[in-house]
């Protein structure tokens, strides 16, 4: 996503789709003569969406964070302070969302209709998406 790519030059690489979800879902123009598609669905799903998007982002962050770790040269005992701090923070912030999210996701699954799991399938393919997204690739390159 371009949003992130353009901020990382100066700001910490923390932005994700998840970070701006509240804007995309709850701000922006709504015109009363137009419907908001499955309005009810979206309102109910907002929590669910936050959860799913959050956990995918968490996986991506973990994967990226681990990728940057060079255990061999850092002597095994300690990463540079800055880096380990960043990783911890990320994990703390995000895993909380993902965990409490799991509970909601489970209860949500229970109430879901059969054949309504299309979203799940799609959310399982972040690798394909991120390898296609030039934004993410650029961002990675910048960080390295």
């Amino acid at each position: 996503m371009t949003v992130i790519q353009e901020t990382t030059a100066i700001c910490r690489p923390s932005g994700t789709l998840y970070e701006v979800l509240d804007l995309i879902l709850d701000k922006g123009l709504v015109i009363d003569v137009f419907a908001r598609v499955s309005l009810v669905g979206i309102e109910i799903l907002t929590i669910d969406v936050r959860v799913v998007v959050a956990s995918v982002d968490t996986y991506l962050r973990f994967a990226e964070a681990c990728n940057r770790l060079d255990l061999g040269t850092s002597g095994g005992s300690g990463l540079p302070d800055l880096l380990s701090g960043g990783v911890e923070k990320g994990a703390k912030n995000k895993s909380k969302g993902a965990l409490s999210g799991a509970v909601e996701a489970v209860s949500d699954t229970l109430s879901k209709k059969k054949g309504d799991d299309e979203d799940g399938d799609e959310e399982k393919k972040p690798a394909r998406r991120s390898s296609k997204s030039s934004g993410r690739t650029t961002r990675k390159a910048k960080e390295e």
């Binding site: 949003v3 700001c11 789709l17 922006g28």
Partner: protein, 243 residues
């Protein structure tokens, strides 16, 4: 087929060559519905559209691209019109409002700033700054943590102190950035953030803003995680027309 609406832009010939892909499993080509010097950015609405990562990203990316051009009035995700004709009618009807809003927002972008505490660090800071709290903590530690009731009471004092601190720390983040913004909008405190604030600023002011944001980040880094996203379309600064 119903029409998915991404946003509204000034109409000009530069739109003709613009190829953007929209929402849907097979990304729908983005087209423009034009009237009265403005254009709605639309595509066919896919069946069973819901707020999925793929479509949220597509929505966002269409708007980002338009933001890099002359600017756009972003729609909230998921706005659908019955058909193109209904869109044209809306543009004809409320064209003045949209034109004026577009001109007001031209060359301007939104930056969103969210700050969250790094829990362990802010607790340390809290104890450092509050002698009574610190002493109580030490005495509890000496007695092996204290009784459940004592722990509960102490935890409540900590929570209150933290709550008091939040407003001050939020201001530490927001106040310096406000100087660089034309307008400021406050969002809901999602995910325990202590501030969720959007800033509207001229595109050419963004580097200054980001430099200031970087300073804020550095100064609060010990106990806060300040996350800056942008430039984005002005999601928080668009008003619908009055009826």
């Amino acid at each position: 087929m119903s029409t998915y609406v991404y946003g509204i832009v000034h109409d000009d010939e530069s739109l003709d060559g613009l190829e953007l892909s929209g929402v849907g499993r097979e990304p729908a080509p983005v087209r423009f519905v034009r009237a009265r010097g403005i254009a709605a950015v639309v595509s066919d609405a896919p069946e069973g559209l819901r707020a999925k990562r793929r479509d949220l990203t597509a929505h966002q990316e269409v708007l980002q691209e338009l933001t890099r051009r002359r600017g756009v009035l972003p729609m909230r995700f998921g706005v659908v019109s019955q058909d193109d004709d209904a869109v044209t009618e809306q543009l004809r009807d409320k064209g003045d409002h949209y034109s004026a809003l577009l001109s007001r927002l031209e060359g301007r972008v939104e930056f969103n700033v969210k700050a969250v505490y790094v829990e362990e660090e802010v607790l340390k800071a809290l104890l450092r700054d509050d002698r009574a709290l610190r002493e109580r903590n030490e005495s509890l530690r000496r007695s092996g943590g204290g009784t459940p009731a004592e722990r509960m009471a102490f935890g409540e004092r900590v929570a209150r102190a933290l709550e008091e601190r939040k407003g001050r720390d939020a201001a530490t983040v927001v106040r310096p950035l406000t100087e660089h913004a034309e307008r400021v909008a406050t969002g809901p405190l999602v995910d325990d953030c202590l501030t969720n604030t959007s800033f509207l600023l001229p595109w050419k002011g963004r580097e200054e803003f980001l430099r200031r944001a970087a300073t804020v980040q550095r100064e609060t880094d010990a106990y806060m995680d300040v996350r800056v996203n942008g430039p984005m379309p002005p999601y928080s600064f668009v008003e619908p027309p009055r009826n």
